[in-house]
Amino acid sequence: MYIDPHIHMVSRTTDDYQRMALAGCVAITEPAFWAGYDRSSPQGFHDYFRQLTDTEPKRAAQYGIRHHTWLCINPKEAEDPVFAREVIALIPNFLACESVLGIGEIGLNKNSRNELEILEAHLDLAAKHNLMVLVHTPHLEDKLKGTRLIMDAIRNQGRLDPGRVLIDHVEEHTVGMVLERGFWAGMTLYPDTKCTPQRAVDIFEMHGTERLWINSAGDWGQSDPLAVPKAQLEMRARGHCESNIRKVSFENPLAFLSQSGRFKIS
């Protein structure tokens, strides 16, 4: 049994839901993200938020998987602050939906001033509504700097408990600083970028299993919706006990997400 706490099912086929259910997935959370192109209007985001809060939960339920979501405008579309603020203004209309856990995946992409301004606007919205936060950290060469800037922005804002914020896509050079500051940390299992299952298990061995989870972040790019059960297999093959495997792939996401008061498993 496992939870995939970060996966973009709008980009996946229904067959993937079936395969995930067969592999033991009981619940997922789906953050709002970049569709691979820039939306031309805030109305495009309105429709996307409807897909996340209405369509996907029904599709997942066909396979006994409970679907939850996080809403935001992602950092790749945050370079136009006026546009981004129009999208942020739509989010409160969806907060009454029981499957909305919080704001995410917010963060930075190229670590620009405009991206930072919109990150801060999202953090204000989360604090105002007492919402949890799921953070995207930048890719490749931008990750180290972006992770520092994001954690500083949350600290400077001062109204969000780090224990209710998960900083995702950590790797070997960022996981330590994230955990030291009291945040939860997520490892994304990707074939070419971010972590492989093997490296994720290395990180568990080096940093322990507290406040850490694994996710597939499966989307429209090279990714694997079965990455979490594959990491479970890797842990098993390397001699990890079943209680540790269950902790990182089920109990930890359950503990973090349950703080929302809305997270349920089937």
């Binding site: 670590n111 620009s112 931008d142 180290l144 700097k145 800037l149 050079h173 061995e205 990890h240």
Partner: protein, 101 residues
């Protein structure tokens, strides 16, 4: 923070994963050969300079190779940039950036 030990022995890890990583090592070698054989521009590409520097870290005999390679490939500046002119990352710090190590 308590960390879990590596549960398999050195020999068991090698037995389990040597062939897989031997293949990956050959992939790296053949990639370097392929780039060298190819024509056109790119002999001084900043990504390949970074790649060669990373290869040196693999055999320096010191621990935490993965973390040190990721740090070598990271932008170390602290201030936000004025504007994002692209959405993409390259995997190494471009020479136009002040953040290269």
């Amino acid at each position: 923070m308590a960390s879990a030990p590596v549960l398999l022995s050195k020999r068991a890890l090698i037995d389990r994963s040597y062939l897989e990583h031997r293949a990956r090592l050959l992939d790296v070698a053949s990639f370097l050969d392929r780039v060298e054989r190819a024509g056109g521009e790119g002999a001084d590409d900043f990504r390949m300079r970074a790649f060669h520097a990373c290869c040196a870290l693999l055999i320096d005999g010191k621990p935490d190779r993965t973390q040190r390679i990721l740090e070598l490939l990271s932008d170390h500046t602290r201030e936000p940039i004025a504007h994002a002119h692209t959405k993409s990352a390259t995997g190494a710090v471009p020479p136009t950036s002040a953040g290269a190590r």
